[in-house]
Amino acid sequence: MNRRAYLGGLAGTGIAGLAGCLGTIESQLSGEQPGSGDWGDGETVLDTPTEDRGSPSHPIYGHEMPSFSFPDPLTGETVSSSDLEGRTYLMTFFFTHCPDGACPALLLRLRRAQADAIEKGYDDDLALLAMTFDPERDTPEVLETYAGQQGVDLEAGNWHFLRPESYESGAQVLREDFGMILDRVEDEEDLAELEEEHANDDHDEDDGDDHDDGDGGGHHDHGEYTFVHYNLIFLVNEHGIVERSYPNALRTDTETIVEDVRAVTGG
């Protein structure tokens, strides 16, 4: 798909998301109305989400998580979806070259869940997966340093960085199997152009908790290339079914995510 086509697609979901946004506010304050969405029928612990989601390209509540297998460069293991059966996991996607941006905040949410699990003794039932888009710059050494900066407990044994062999191979899996929107942007001009198109397509630049896919992502401008990506976190249960996908995860309170994790693990 060329870039213009996928931005066009984005604009559509952004508009759909507006209706969802109003629904979200009402349902949050009045209580219990489940939102609409193309939910799957997998076995779940959590109730149907109250926000409207439509049919995003990535898996949402009740859908089976796509299978995957990536190396963890710090433990030397290969982590695959089948190894994770029987455990709940949170999974997010990041790259270290956005130190002041969204990525530390994404990892912080996983880190908080890890700390809560250790405190409450359900750490054996929970795995934390942080997949880099950028294996070229995110070497094992860089990832280990980054873990320390973000306060990650690597000793706990339940944290895995996932590092695909190359950007292309990782991106292919993310796009084709996960339905993620991800783009590598080579220079600032491209980024400016992309932003301009985006602004023209979708005036709803920052549409809050629309819980759709309009512009849940962020871009980062560091160094010679950067990425445009979602700030997405998946919560997947022991059967490999998505319990929550937080598409605009930085607008989701860490506390909400931790509560959801506790409910799913029974922790």
């Binding site: 949050q28 530390p104 905040a105 908080r112 700390a115 873990a147 306060g151 630049e205 930085l250 860490t254």
Partner: protein, 181 residues
């Protein structure tokens, strides 16, 4: 007014407001306002404090509930946090007697960075107030950290009166902190 009524009132306000602001913020401001008015869970959290200049090693309660506080969430690895340090130092100079200043990091101090490195970094960047170690990310969770640096001003009742991400000037910091005085 009972809390429930308050929330019901807010609900309609929120829905009205979304007509105009949905494009920029969505439900965020409603939640923010709820949190500002009722406060977060104001039960204080006990956190470890670092042995660095101006900081007594041991533990402290956040919020103290004894007076206004200013929290700065930072990382030694975070260039914008470094950029903001001179402004913080200047504001501390002016308001440090009225407001309890605490800079907070989630870094694995003792692992990825030693205590000595933290102490040196702190002096190098003119820090001279309390540094707290949020090892379990509880403070970051409570105060909604979604980017560094994060500035939070809390009043004497433990209620967040101002909270903003990003590098601030001295004047912006003072304006923000004054909302909690």
């Amino acid at each position: 007014m009972r809390r429930r009524d308050y929330i019901a009132g807010l609900g309609s306000l929120g829905v009205l407001a979304t007509g105009g602001v949905v494009a920029t913020q969505g439900a965020g401001p409603v939640q923010d306002r709820l949190q500002r008015w009722f406060g977060p869970d104001v039960e204080p959290l006990e956190v470890e404090t670092a042995d660095v200049r101006g900081s007594e090693p041991g533990t402290m309660q956040i919020p103290t509930l004894e007076g206004p506080m200013f929290l700065d969430f930072f990382g030694t690895w975070c260039p914008p946090c470094i950029e903001q340090m001179p402004a913080l130092a200047a504001v501390h100079e002016q308001l440090g007697d009225e407001v309890t200043f605490v800079s907070i990091t989630n870094e694995a101090v003792g692992a990825s960075i030693t205590e000595e490195e933290l102490a040196d970094w702190w002096v190098e960047h003119d820090g001279n107030w309390t540094v707290a170690l949020d090892r379990n990310v509880e403070l970051a969770e409570r105060y909604g950290l979604s980017g560094y640096p994060l500035a939070v001003a809390i009043d004497e009742y433990g209620v967040v009166q101002w909270s903003e991400t990003g590098v601030k000037t001295e004047a912006e910091l003072i304006d923000g902190i004054e909302q909690a005085l």
